[in-house]
């Protein structure tokens, strides 16, 4: 097991480098297809890609901002009214 292993014509090292663009939907169609062929046949990259994508989803789900609580909003309003 090495990042230099080649599956479906591309190395795990190249997949690792392109994983961000893949996640962001920024890969060209042919590069995307190549990466997906690799991941479909490489257990290490499949597991890692799943964890990577899952982590991004957790960021959105778990850290969603909440509105200011009433006390904090009141202090902010008072500071803005005071203006200093």
């Amino acid at each position: 097991m090495s990042l230099d292993d080649r599956v479906a014509g591309v190395s795990c090292r190249e997949v690792l480098a392109q994983l961000g663009d893949y996640q962001d939907g920024a890969l060209a169609a042919d590069a995307r297809a190549t990466l997906e062929a690799h991941v479909g046949a490489c257990a290490n990259c499949a597991a890692f890609g799943g964890a990577y994508g899952g982590l991004v989803a957790r960021l959105r789900e778990r850290l969603a901002p909440r509105p200011l609580d009433a006390d904090r909003a009141a202090r902010l309003a008072a500071r803005l009214a005071k203006g200093d």
Partner: protein, 180 residues
Amino acid sequence: MIRAAAGDRPAFAAIVDRYGGQVFHLARALVRDDATAEDVLQDTFLAAWRTAASYRGDGAVASWLYAIARHAAHRHGRRADQISTDDRSLEALGAAAGWGQPDVLAIVARGEDRAQLEAALATLPDDDRLALWLHHVLDQTFDDTAKVLGCSVAAVKSRLHRARLALAASLRQGGDHVAR
């Protein structure tokens, strides 16, 4: 925003109401204690009110506020012990994040817990943490994230990839990784 820029206080209050929570939580992610984050929150909106007249309307209000918040957070202190993830190879970051290891999926399980996720984020350099927050939590586009960070879109994409790997590594290793 146009009315707020003209000095309309109720219009500005509506902006505070709409974006206050986002600015506070972004500040909290940057300075990591509630009292300082509240100072950043107040400084941000005070600066926004004072400079609203110069807002040119050529960008999103949110990213304008986040850029002000970023500067305010810097004024309130920045850790000196940060090591940029730019200094590490993708291979090293990938290995630390668990590529090829049987425990790699534990990252996602640990990320389910907000406290663990915040603790892992806290180990990242400021700009890595900021990029993740802006793009993934506050839904800022690559363009707007680049404006807040003061860099190119390509640099944002690269930073996000490295920051995600570093975050995964930190989660995998219990929040004691990468920036220390």
